[in-house]
């Protein structure tokens, strides 16, 4: 018994503590489940014939021929490749290593090609249209997610993204109609989003009200307000107040003529180009400027920021207002791009999807944008498949983004770290 002899202690004391691998089994489990699901679908569904992937559009510089593959064969090849990816993930798990992101990415791309090849059997899949449509549908999600990222980075959870989108849509319709200019409408939308953010700020920052509660209640408030105003004011005077000019697609010279990429990225509405700018500016500002450094400090450790003389409350207000303006501008998509009139509850809860993209994207503007694009893709895929006919009931396709989000928060980003002070009101002292 070594009760009193330190010299007989077990091992010499080391200065660097060892690290033993603790890996999650979520990734291998999820990959395996998805693989089995696709295999079951292919085995049980009665699909046959060939699938064509169309990469060309009209007025292309260079004509790219369609790629035609046998539907079921493609799907089985994909299932095999996916099974290999899943096996690799299991192997890494058994070797106490985490599944890398690239493996998940490769798995997802293969899975998607396999699924599309199978689901669109006997038809031609307009790949370019699918992706271009996905980008268009993702516009409000990306703007909303950017607003969400900024809010959380400065320490304010923005559940009110949906309210900001809806207020933006309403304001864009109203202001756009009155001013007769779509761009003025976009400005109005940004202002409306900022106004919602201001209410969020007053309650969450100045009065320390629980941020999730304010957000949820604000969403209800905006639904009520816009619906009320719609019935009372917009609907009776639709010609004057609810018929804004549209922001149609604009082809950017040269870039728009690049095959495949051009039609997807550069033959979009002006709002999409604004989106490119917004993503770039937000990312640069957050990571490369004095403003961004302070924003991140306030979101991580507000007291530390306070002790070096940064005004936490003012920083939070300013950032939340900018975030609201960005999300609000995204709302203009509904009334200036999608259709040219406002309708009650027309965002259909997109703000919540944007919120999911924020978490999915780990509070990073670029990744959140990618996540939002993924959701846009899922929604558009459903539309495209229901046109060409698909063996999967459309309800299940519609469900997909939500199910994916549940999987994502449960499995893939479970351990990711939010800004430390996100959601925590700052009280001095």
């Amino acid at each position: 018994m070594t009760t009193s002899a330190p010299t007989t202690g077990p091992a010499p004391v080391t200065d660097t503590p060892p690290v033993i691998a603790v890996v999650s089994k979520k990734a291998p489990v999820i990959l395996a489940v998805v693989t089995v699901a696709l295999a079951a679908a292919v085995a049980l569904g009665s699909q046959s014939g060939d699938t064509s992937f169309r990469l060309a559009t009209r007025n292309d510089f260079v004509e790219i021929p369609d790629i035609t593959v046998p539907a079921v064969g493609t799907a089985w090849v994909a299932v095999v490749l996916m099974a290999l990816c899943a096996a690799e993930s299991v192997r890494r798990y058994l070797a106490h290593r985490d599944t890398p992101l690239w493996l998940v990415a490769v798995f997802s791309v293969i899975g998607m090609i396999g699924f599309l090849g199978w689901a669109a059997a006997g038809a031609t899949l307009p790949v370019v249209g699918l992706l271009a449509g996905a980008l268009a549908l993702a516009v409000p999600l990306v703007f909303g997610a950017l607003g969400g990222v900024l809010g959380e980075r400065v320490g304010v959870v923005n559940i009110a993204i949906d309210g900001q989108l809806l207020a933006g849509a309403f304001a864009a319709a109203l202001v756009g109609s009155v001013a007769g200019s779509a761009w003025v409408g976009v400005l109005g939308a940004a202002a409306a989003g900022a106004l919602v953010a201001l209410i969020l700020g007053v309650f969450a920052i100045s009065y320390f009200v629980d941020q999730v509660i304010v957000g949820v209640v604000l969403n209800v408030l905006i639904v009520g307000l816009t619906s009320f105003m719609f019935s009372q004011v917009l609907a009776p005077n639709a010609a004057d107040l609810n018929s804004p000019p549209r922001l149609g697609p604009v082809t950017i010279p040269v870039l728009g003529d690049i095959p495949v990429i051009g039609p997807i990225l550069f033959r979009q509405s002006a709002l999409v180009y604004l989106l490119y700018v917004a993503v770039a500016v937000v990312t640069w500002a957050l990571y490369r400027t004095k403003w961004g450094l302070r924003v991140r400090a306030v979101g991580e450790h507000p007291k530390a920021a306070d002790t070096v003389g940064i005004d936490v409350v003012r920083t939070r207000y300013r950032t939340v207002l900018i975030a609201g303006a960005i999300a609000g501008a995204g709302g203009a998509f509904y009334t200036l791009v999608s259709v040219s009139q406002f309708n009650r509850e027309m965002t259909g809860g997109a703000g919540y999807i944007a919120l999911a993209a924020v978490i999915f994207g780990k509070w990073d503007p670029i990744r959140a944008t990618l996540a939002a694009l993924l959701f846009g893709f899922a929604s558009n895929l459903q539309g495209v498949l229901s046109v060409i006919g698909s063996p999967v009931p459309s309800e299940f396709m519609l469900m997909l983004p939500y199910v994916v989000t549940v999987f994502a928060v449960a499995g893939l980003v479970g351990q990711s770290r939010a800004p430390a002070a996100s959601g925590v009101p700052y009280r001095k002292g």
């Binding site: 070594t2 009760t3 690290v19 603790v22 400027t289």
Partner: protein
């Protein structure tokens, strides 16, 4: 250069945290502010730093009254502060932390990170700090983090530097180095205010000592004053620095820990293959600087840690792999190190807190229903027995003072049938009166034949309570030594040095 606080008063509701405190510190001197936890030292410094606004009184720098509306004003006036809880953003690099709030920018507000790096290197070299400007602060040891705090303050050209309880997280050696830095600062003409409750440190570096108690200046002392004199001044009455106890009556080896390894969810090992045993009727005190695996050790004993390897046997029964409730049912009493987080539910009444770990059956629950009458009777009894100063058993625990909160936790744990008591930092943030009471209870538990494991970062407490002392460093046992081991040896062991066969 002279900074003067004149009759500074700060109230929180009816509580007077600072009552007409006056203080002067000049350039080139170290002024110690000595006082117990809760004496009002930190409040005063927060007033000086502009975090709180004084209700009365003024702060004068070189004859000019200062208007401090926020830390920005204090920084501008040349006042810098090294906070007790470091004010560093863990995910930022050293350079980012140092430049924050004081950024040099290039085109369109873009950050000039190179300038910040250069500045960190310059100050780091001047004091021999060896700090890498690109290291992420959260990955650095606490001692280095403190240097980053100092660099941050110095980069703002502070003339007055306040250290708020800076040694709480340091090893004795790091403490010595900090003292040396303070002397260096003094030599360069900086005014240093050193806030602490540790008498030894005060006597080592102070040029002047001001003692405050209950928000008031109760006296000034000379660095030559004895520990007993200083302690009496600080507490307001003669203090018994030791705990009265008899030699232990040792029983069987009750708790036997073998090759215990604890890792966190990222795989970082915090407790690395340690073995020890505690006999019935014995106090084994765990010494060590905070963050060397003590927290993880006690949590592993209770079943709160997930990644545990090795064996923990209590009276022959294996505890590893059991749920917390099974461990509690096996007779383990647990006083967690942070009572506000792990020990109490703040909005619950004292009575409810007293049944917190007994909500599954007798004596307080029958057929799924809480036996309110029985619980209240029990609570009244314990309130009296443990001298908890509270209006009544329905008072929310969060409203109590630290000492009374801790008494509620101790009362709850000691009123169960115990086969082991684990007490982590049992008197942290507790007033002197309650410290004595809690220490007596721990010794009484030992004397009733229960094995006791006490974890404390206060060497005084370790020495006062221990029958044997186990020193932890980086999750490993440096040694298990008798309670009368000299302090210098214990201090050395806390830095990971094994005393070469000197102690047996």
């Amino acid at each position: 250069m002279q900074l003067e606080l004149r009759d500074v008063t700060k109230r929180f509701g009816s509580l007077v945290a600072n009552d007409r405190i006056s203080l002067t510190v000049a350039g080139g001197e170290i002024h110690c502010l000595l006082g117990e936890n809760g004496a009002g030292k930190s409040t005063l410094m927060n007033v000086l730093y502009g975090l709180y606004r004084a209700d009365e009184g003024e702060i004068v720098l070189d004859g000019e009254p200062l208007q401090l509306d926020g830390p920005g004003d204090a920084i501008a006036a040349g006042i810098g502060m090294v906070h007790q809880h470091f004010m560093l953003v863990p995910v930022f690099t050293v350079a980012e932390n140092v430049m924050l709030g004081n950024e040099e920018t290039g085109v369109a507000g873009s950050l000039d990170i190179d300038a910040a790096r250069a500045r960190v290197r310059e100050i780091s070299d001047r004091f021999g700090f060896h700090v890498d400007p690109d290291a992420v602060v959260g990955d650095l040891p606490v001692g280095v983090q403190q240097r980053v705090e100092i660099i941050k303050v110095l980069s703002r050209e502070a003339k007055v530097l306040v250290f708020d309880e800076p040694t709480a997280v340091l090893t004795p050696q790091e403490t010595d180095e900090l003292m040396e830095i303070m002397r260096q600062l003094r030599a360069s003409g900086t005014a240093v205010v050193f806030i602490t409750h540790k008498l030894r440190e005060v006597r080592e570096v102070a040029d002047r000592i001001t003692v405050i108690r209950r928000g008031r200046v109760v006296g000034e002392a000379d660095p030559t004053a004895t520990n007993t004199e200083l302690a009496a001044l600080m507490v307001g009455r003669p203090v018994e620095l030791t705990v009265q106890k008899d030699a232990p009556t040792l029983g069987e080896e009750a708790l036997v820990v073998r090759d215990l390894t604890v890792a966190d969810s990222t795989g970082m090992v915090h407790v690395n293959g340690i073995s020890f045993e505690v006999r019935a009727g014995e106090v084994l005190a765990v010494a060590g600087v905070q963050g060397n695996g003590q927290t993880e050790l006690t949590e592993a004993l209770l079943g709160l840690q997930e990644h545990v390897k090795g064996s923990i046997r209590l009276d022959g029964r294996e505890l590893v792999g059991r749920k917390v409730r099974q461990v509690l049912d096996a007779g383990v009493g647990f006083v967690p190190e942070d009572r506000q987080v792990d020990g109490l539910v703040g909005t619950f009444s004292i009575a409810e807190n007293l049944m917190l770990d007994r909500s599954f059956g007798a004596p307080f629950v029958r057929a799924g229903s809480v036996q309110v009458g029985r619980l209240e009777e029990f609570a009244r009894e314990k309130l009296q027995e443990y001298d908890v100063r509270a209006p009544g058993i329905h008072t929310p625990a969060g409203n109590l003072s630290g000492g009374n909160q801790q008494k509620v936790v101790v009362a709850r744990e000691l009123s169960r049938d115990l086969r082991l008591l684990v007490a982590a930092q049992p008197t942290r943030g507790v007033d002197v009166g309650s410290i004595e009471f809690i220490h007596q209870q721990i010794i009484a538990t030992r004397d009733s034949g229960v094995p006791v494991l006490v974890v404390s970062t206060e060497l005084d407490e370790v020495v006062a309570l221990a029958d044997r002392i186990m020193v932890l460093y980086r999750g490993q046992v440096v040694g298990i030594v008798p309670a009368d081991t000299p302090r210098e040896v214990l201090g050395l062991m806390m830095t990971g040095e094994r005393p070469a066969g000197a102690v047996a």
